[in-house]
C-alpha cells in the first residue's frame, strides 16, 4: 500500500467525520437555520456513542445513542431559534459550550478506557475493483452511511415534494406559510435531523475512528463542517467533495509524517483550517447568490 492510497483511505474515513455533520448542517441551512451547535452535537454524539458502546458492548446501541444525543442538541437549538426567536449564532455557540461542559463533566469516567472501533466491511465484488475498491469499499458502516446519505439527500432535495417545501422554507418561509405549510415545523424537524447526523459524525470519531473518548475530541470539526456547507454552496455533492478534501488534508499530514518527512507539526495541525479558509475565500462570492434567502438574515445582517 503506497502513501497515496493510505492518504485517500484515511481521507475518506476521516472525511466522513466531517461529511455526516456537514450533511446535517446542509439540511438545517436549506431550511434557513444555521447551527454552530453542530460542534456541540458532535461532542454529544461522540460521548453518547462511546459511553453506550462501552457500557452495553453493542456498537449498534452506541450508534443510536450518538444520534439521539445529537438530536437533543438540535431540538434545543431549534426550540431557541425557531420557537423562541433567539439569535442563531449565539444559540449555536451556547449549545456548544453546554455540550463542552456536559461531555467533559460526564465523560471523565470514560477517559483512558478503550473499545474496539467499528470494523471495516469489505463490500463483496466492489472492493476488488483495483485501487478504488480498497479506498471506497473497504470501510466501516458509517462511511457507507455517508455515501447513501448524499444520494438520499440529493434525491429528497431535488426530486420530492418534501425537498421542495424544505428549500422553500429556507428561501421564503412566509410563502410556505401562505400556502398552508408550517415553516416552523419544517425548520424544527430539519435542524433536529441535521443534528442527528452531527451526532453520527461524532460517533464516527469516537467509536468509528479511534475507539476512545477524550475531552473536546471534536476540536473544531463541527465548525469546519459549517464552513464546508458554505463553500459547497449548499449542494450535497459538493459537500461530499469538501468534506473529503478536509479528510485528505488531515490524512496526508499524518502519512507524510509516518514516512519521515519532516513537516512542522503545528503547520500540519493548522493546515485543515487554512485549507477550509482558503476554499471559503475562493468560493464565497460564487456561492453567495445561492445562499438560502432566509439564511442570509441570520448569517450576515449587512452587505
Amino acid at each position: 500500500m503506497n502513501g497515496v492510497e493510505q492518504t485517500l483511505i484515511g481521507g475518506v474515513s476521516g472525511g466522513t467525520a466531517i461529511l455526516l455533520p456537514a450533511l446535517g448542517e446542509l439540511i438545517g441551512e436549506r431550511a434557513g437555520v444555521i447551527n454552530l451547535g453542530t460542534e456541540g452535537a458532535m461532542l454529544a454524539g461522540a460521548l453518547g456513542a462511546y459511553a453506550m458502546t462501552e457500557s452495553s458492548g453493542v456498537i449498534w446501541y452506541g450508534i443510536i445513542a450518538g444520534m439521539l444525543a445529537g438530536a437533543v442538541v438540535g431540538l434545543a437549538h431549534s426550540w431557541i431559534t425557531v420557537r423562541r426567536g433567539g439569535d442563531q449564532i449565539a444559540s449555536g455557540l451556547l449549545l456548544w459550550f453546554l455540550a463542552l461542559g456536559v461531555t467533559s463533566v460526564f465523560g471523565t469516567e470514560f477517559v483512558g478506557t478503550a473499545i474496539t472501533p467499528l470494523s471495516n466491511i469489505a463490500i463483496p465484488g466492489l472492493h476488488s475493483i483495483p485501487w478504488v475498491g480498497v479506498i471506497l469499499f473497504d470501510q466501516n458502516i458509517l462511511v457507507y452511511a455517508g455515501y447513501v446519505l448524499v444520494a438520499v439527500i440529493w434525491f429528497v432535495f431535488y426530486r420530492t415534494r418534501v425537498g421542495l417545501i424544505l428549500r422553500a422554507t429556507g428561501e421564503r418561509p412566509e410563502v410556505v406559510a401562505a400556502t398552508g405549510g408550517k415553516p416552523q415545523l419544517v425548520q424544527i424537524v430539519a435542524v433536529t435531523i441535521g443534528a442527528c447526523l452531527g451526532g453520527l459524525g461524532g460517533a464516527q470519531l469516537s467509536i468509528g475512528y479511534v475507539g476512545n473518548w477524550f475531552n473536546d475530541m471534536t476540536s473544531g470539526y463541527g465548525f469546519v463542517a459549517v464552513a464546508v456547507v458554505l463553500f459547497a454552496a449548499w449542494r450535497p455533492v459538493r459537500v461530499l467533495g469538501g468534506a473529503y478534501l478536509f479528510g485528505i488534508v488531515l490524512a496526508a499530514a499524518s502519512v507524510l509524517q509516518a514516512h519521515g518527512v519532516s513537516v512542522n507539526q503545528y503547520l500540519l495541525d493548522a493546515l485543515p483550517y487554512l485549507v477550509t479558509l482558503l476554499a471559503l475565500a475562493v468560493f464565497a462570492r460564487r456561492g453567495r447568490s445561492e445562499t438560502p434567502e432566509a439564511l442570509t438574515r441570520s448569517l450576515s445582517r449587512s452587505g
Binding site: 442563531q88 453546554l98 452587505g303
Partner: protein, 368 residues
Amino acid sequence: MTATPVNESSVRGTDVDLNTPEQPDLPGGLARLGPGSRYALISTLGYVASLAIFGVLVAVKGAEPISVYHTIIASTLLNGDALQQTALRAIPIGLAALAVAVPARAGLINVGGEGQLIMGAVAATGIGVAAVPGALSWAAMCVSGALAGALWAALSGVLRTWLGASEAVTTLLLNFIANDVMLYLIYQAWKDPNGSGQPQSRPLAHVAQLPKMFGSQLNIGVLIALVVVAVTWFLLQRTGWGFQLRVVGGNTEAARRAGLRVNSLLLSSMVVGGALAGLGGALNLAGVETQLRPDITLTFGYVAFLASFLGRHQPVKVVGAALLFSAVALSGNGLQITDGLDGTIVDILLALIVAVPLVVAKYRRRAA
C-alpha cells in the same frame, strides 16, 4: 441609552412569527401585566430556572447545590484577593466582548475574540521578550498586541468585504489557526530554554510587566481597560462613526444609498474590535500571565462572545456581563477544590445564563 437597531435584528433570526399570535398564550395573571414588567418577570424566572437546572446537575454529580453556590460566590466575590482576581480576569473577557459588540453595531458577527486575544498575547510576548526591557516596555507590548488583534480581525473583515465570505465562520476558523501559531511558538521557536521542558515562552522581565497599583494584585491594566471602555462607549454613542455603524447595521441598502462607504465602515468595525481584543490579550499577558503558555485564553474569547450577547452589545452592559462571567469562569477552580467537581462544569452555568435572554427574546421585543 440609545436603542440599537442591531440588537433588534440580531435576536430575530429567521423567525417569521407567522404562527404566533401577537399576544402569547399566558396564564391569566401574566397577561394582565404590561409588556415591560412581563418581560422583567419572565427573565427573572428564566434566571432562577437556569440556576435550578445547574443545581440539579451538580446534585447528580454528587455535590451539594447550596454549597456549590456558596463556593461560587465565596471564591470570586467575598474576599479581597478573589475580587481582585475576578477584576483581572474581566479585562481580557471584557475587551474581547467589546470586540464582539463593536462589529455587531454594523451587523457583523465576530466570533474570533479567542484568536484575537491569542494574537494580542503573542505579539506582546514577542515585543516583551525580544526588545530591551525598559520602563515603557509594557506600553509597547500593549500597542503591538492591539495591532496584532486588529490585523487578525482585519483578515476576516477583508474576506468579508472583498470576497463575501461569512465573517462568523472565518473568524471562528482563524481562532484555531491562531492557537496553532501560538503552540508552535511556545513548543518550538520561543520555547524557554530554562523552562525545564515546560512548553512556555521566556518570562517577561519584571520591568516589562504591568506595574501594580496601591500594593494590591491589581495592575494598571485595570485603569487602561476602564479608559478603553469609556473611549469605546464614546465612539459608539457619541461620534459620527458610531452612528454610521448603526445605520449600516440597521439597513445596509439604505446606508449605501445615503452615500455611506459601507465596506470601509464594516472593515473599520472589525479592525477596532480586533484591536480591543488584541489589547485584552496583551494586558492579560503583561499583567497576569507574564509568559506565553498553552491555554492562556481558556476559551475567554467565546465566553466574551456570550457576554456581549448577554449585554446586548451595549458597552456598559457588556462590561457588566463580562464581570459576571469572569466570576463564574474563575469559580471553576473553587468548585474543583471545595466541591470536588470538574472545573469545566462552569461552562454549563455560563451557557444556561446566556440561554435566558435568547429564550425570552420575544417578550423583550414586545416590551421595547
